[in-house]
């Protein structure tokens, strides 16, 4: 993306005023999307973003500048601006020479999305729309979205690291509105993987259309969710987002370092039920949060955060790891070249247990079964969270019975970890997500087996 000589000169410029560490991050991202709404293919959009972000670290201060101008003049100006922002003391000249690092890469993309005709992509939208509408006249609205992106990055730093990655992601979603006596209800289905158009070898868009329609129709007959503390069984793949939000964020070294995490100073302690092993794994080929190289030039890692209930480690980026004299865990990520990297999750999941999922439900007298959680919010300092339930049912006498709607799960992440008393031998990854932190969004995956939380507060609308 840039020649090595230009990179070396840019890094030298960035280090000229006494920087201790400098980094050039170059990104070239192309994206395309198509939207069908109200029975019509509404819009196709193509996007191109290209530029470089340069950071210079002096002591505890990071200076950062970015530019869309990748010429030598543009890069040099950004390097000087970043160095000035970091307020270097004016040390001697430093010569930087970068060389590529060895990185293990997953299988290459089989069908690059740019090689697929737009008509083929648009055709998927139409298929999903027709399949959803065929579920009955109760379906009053269908919208479907196709999106792909190719993100090429290059990272080089004053430690001599040079790494490149080529990240292709493909996404498809269907949303339905059903109307009936209880008003309007919605259902959604989405899939996204770090692969090319071969996503659709396994993802059946008609099936997705049918399932999102069924979700909406089911909710028409759903009763308002009850309120109160009850046992909650979370289905496979349905609740990973809860552990991402309510536990994962608290294990990010930047928040830990500021004392803004409930997990600070607790490595080695029992923080969860002994059943729980929590892993963050950027190496999971094809998953939505996968990459070969993170946005700081480190290879993706397989990081065990909690082993059998004991806190083993946090997730690290370059900055925090340098301070601790250790290596980054490959969790330094950023939304784009216009953003500073920070500690971010990749694919975060709870490993499978030994219980029969059916037995977990059968052993629950009364409670709530959550098939799919929606978006949520967490206070990482306290672990308090709120999540919407997009598909949930009552459990009565050990059986899943009526669907419920408009409910939230409210609780505290660390408390939930200690209250997991059953873990199924099944496992599934959940829907592709975008994790937001300090205003930056990055793609993440999550997963769980079927599991039971002994008590969790459901906030519903039932009087």
């Amino acid at each position: 993306m840039l020649n090595h000589e230009l990179i070396n000169r840019t890094l030298s410029t960035a280090m000229r005023t006494g920087g201790e560490f400098a980094e050039v991050f170059v990104e070239d991202k192309r994206s395309s999307s198509a939207v069908l709404d109200d029975g019509r293919v509404e819009e196709l959009t193509s996007g191109r973003d290209r530029g470089a972000g340069i950071r210079v670290v002096v002591g505890d201060t990071t200076g950062f500048a970015h530019t869309a101008d990748l010429s030598e003049a543009g890069l040099s100006a950004a390097a000087e601006a970043a160095a000035a922002a970091a307020r270097g003391g004016g040390g001697g000249a430093k010569v930087v020479a970068v060389s590529p690092i060895d990185i293990e890469r997953s299988a290459p993309v089989r069908i690059p999305p740019e090689d697929v005709a737009k008509a083929t992509k648009v055709g998927l939208l139409t298929l999903a729309n027709e399949a959803a509408r065929a579920q009955g006249s109760a379906i009053s609205q269908v919208s479907a979205r196709y999106g792909d992106s190719r993100r090429r990055i290059l990272v080089a730093n004053s430690d001599g690291v040079l790494a490149e990655d080529d990240q292709v992601r493909t996404l498809f979603s269907v949303s339905c509105v059903a109307s009936g006596d209880t008003g309007l209800q919605t259902g959604r289905e989405s899939t996204g993987r770090t692969v090319g158009f071969e996503l659709f070898d396994e993802a059946d868009v008609e099936e997705m259309g049918r399932r999102s329609a069924e979700r909406a129709i089911t909710k028409l007959s759903a009763q308002p969710a009850p309120s109160g503390a009850v046992p909650v069984v979370v289905g496979p793949g349905g609740g990973g987002v809860l552990f991402h939000e309510a536990c994962g964020h608290g294990l990010e070294a930047d928040l830990v370092g500021k004392g803004a995490s409930v997990f600070a100073n607790r490595v080695g302690e029992q923080v969860a039920s002994p059943l729980v092993t929590l892993i963050d794994d950027g190496t999971m080929a094809g998953e939505w949060g996968h990459f070969a190289v993170d946005d700081e030039g480190r290879p993706a890692g397989h990081n065990v955060l909690i082993q059998d209930g004991v806190l083993t480690d946090y997730m690290w980026d370059q900055l925090r790891a340098r301070k601790e004299g250790r290596l980054s865990s490959g969790n330094g990520r950023r939304q784009s070249y216009q953003h500073l990297p920070m500690v971010r999750m990749t694919n975060t999941y709870i490993t499978a247990g030994h219980d029969d999922p059916e037995a977990i439900i059968a052993d629950t007298d009364s409670g709530v079964y959550v098939a799919q959680l929606g978006g949520g919010q967490v206070n990482t300092a306290t672990g308090d969270f709120v999540f919407g339930m997009t598909e949930a049912y009552l459990i009565e006498n050990g059986e899943i019975t009526d669907p419920i709607r408009e409910g939230n799960l409210i609780g505290n992440g660390p408390e939930v970890l200690t209250r997991i008393d059953r873990l199924g031998h099944d496992f599934a990854m959940g829907s592709p997500g975008t994790c937001g932190k300090d205003g930056q969004g990055v793609p993440v995956g999550d997963g769980t087996p079927t599991l039971r939380v002994t008590s969790l507060t459901v906030g519903g609308t039932a009087a």
Binding site: F64, D69, L184, S227, Q338, A381, T382, G407, T457, G459
Partner: protein, 453 residues
């Protein structure tokens, strides 16, 4: 501004390349941003950067295609028209699709610009963030740290030019601060607070007040436990009125009406709220940081009445939604260079009622003063208006503030909630984004929590 800005020249140049029978609209903008984060008295990060963007929309025979780029480099920009045309060929025609036509409404004389943002040195901006952190730490002995103390500003300009005769340019600038204290709770756990401010210039930011508020908001939740399930009167400070009414205004988008996705679609002229409720969108209010001369399609922004004394007046429209209902655009198109326009509110205002927050609290036997709302983006069914959100707050008992609660939920339905607005406050408070709203008291919401049935 004697010289024509580069964004406007770029937009005009691209529009001039339109083919016969083709509508082309180009939106181009640039911004300069400074962001300073301070931790423990030191600058943690300092970002100084300029961004550019351009979006091209091509329309022909009711079909629409888009292309955008984060660069004004000729090799990138030159491909946009071709890309947008190609995209257009795969879209299906819709007679609502078309550019906004100039409607003769003059743009308000608004120039939300203050030279002091550019003139203030980086050192002085750093000093603001450092002072904010120090003030936050000093506001209460229980503050044990500050997660982030931040100063940010941005100056932006954008042009919108189209073959329909639109040729607008405007600019805006604002500065903001925010601080998040970490506070020791009684049981040794950590609570947080947050407050922020935004203004047209760094010198207008109220550092002391932001620090005080951030800490007060955290401190008043110390010792909070789960709530008792019930139906208290819910008291909203103006910042939460802004949040809730923002959701209401979102449901008054003309596009949702056209697509049958709002419960208010067929209710113009009807009382959808108690008669104490008057709400309008006024992007021409020069005191609002969200004021703007032009909307996202280049039409003049204007005051749009939404609810008058409880009666629904109409909806927020862009050109497309207006065509769908056979009305005129209200100049309410929002857009970024990355997407198509869609109608929405910029600067909501509410008509004043009677009484203030203290009087409301004093008059309530069983109530809840809201301290935070969580999960709003996931907990509201925008189609039906049903909502269930997480809540923290302070119980009101016999006219006085009592114990704090957390991990509660607040549930109801927007249409019903508007009919249950018990009180509208007299004092309008400007929110950092520009929204001008009073305190509210809501009846009929359900508070749920851990100790409920």
């Amino acid at each position: 501004m004697g010289e024509i800005p580069e964004s406007r020249r770029l937009a005009r140049r691209l529009v001039s390349r339109a083919d016969v029978g083709e509508q082309v609209e180009v939106c181009a903008g640039s911004s300069v941003r400074t962001e300073i984060r301070v931790y423990d008295g030191e600058v943690e990060s300092l970002t100084v950067a300029e961004s550019r963007g351009v979006g091209v929309r091509v329309i022909c025979d009711g079909r629409e295609g888009l292309a955008h780029a984060g660069s004004w480099d000729p090799d990138v920009v030159d491909t946009l028209l071709v890309e947008a045309r190609d995209n257009m060929s795969f879209a299906e025609p819709d007679d609502r699709v078309g550019l906004a036509e100039p409607d003769g409404v003059d743009a308000a004389d608004i120039d939300p610009w203050d030279d002091r943002i550019e003139a203030t040195s980086v050192d002085d901006k750093v000093a603001i963030a450092v002072a904010l952190e120090a003030a936050t730490r000093g506001a209460d002995p229980r503050v044990r740290g500050v997660r982030t103390s931040m100063y940010a500003d941005s100056r932006g300009e954008s042009a919108i030019v189209s073959t329909a005769g639109i040729d607008g340019w405007d600019r805006g600038a604002s500065a903001s601060i925010g601080t998040q204290p970490l506070i020791d709770d009684l049981d040794g756990s950590t609570r947080t607070g947050y407050a922020g401010d935004a203004a047209a210039a760094p010198q207008l930011l109220d550092i002391e007040e932001v620090a005080r508020l951030a800490v007060e908001r955290g401190v008043r939740l110390l010792g909070a436990g789960p709530p008792t399930t019930g139906r208290p009167l819910v008291v909203l400070e103006p910042r939460f009125t802004a949040t809730i009414l923002g959701i209401v205004a979102g449901m008054l988008s003309g596009e949702l009406v056209v697509k049958g996705r709002t419960p208010f679609g067929d209710r113009v002229g009807e009382a959808i709220a108690t008669d104490a409720v008057t709400m309008f969108d006024d992007p021409t209010d020069p005191d609002s940081l969200s004021a703007s001369a032009f909307d996202g399609e280049g039409l003049a922004c204007r005051r749009v009445p939404l609810i008058s004394e409880g009666v629904l007046q109409g909806f927020l429209h862009d050109a497309r939604s207006a065509r769908g209902l056979g009305v005129s655009s209200t100049g309410s198109a929002l857009r970024s260079v990355r997407g198509t326009p869609s109608p929405g509110h910029r600067s909501l205002s509410v008509g004043p009622g009677e009484g203030d927050l203290d009087a409301f609290i004093a008059s309530i036997n069983d109530g809840l003063l809201v301290a935070s709302l969580q999960g709003l983006h996931s907990g509201v069914n925008a189609v039906s208006g049903d909502f269930s959100v997480g809540v923290e707050g302070v119980v009101i008992r016999n006219g006085e503030l009592a114990e704090p609660i957390r991990e509660g939920t607040l549930a109801g339905a927007i249409p019903r909630m508007l009919q249950d607005v018990a009180r509208v406050g007299a004092d309008l408070e400007r929110q950092p984004g520009g929204i001008l709203v009073p305190a509210l008291v809501l009846d009929g919401l359900t508070l749920g929590g851990g100790s409920g049935a």
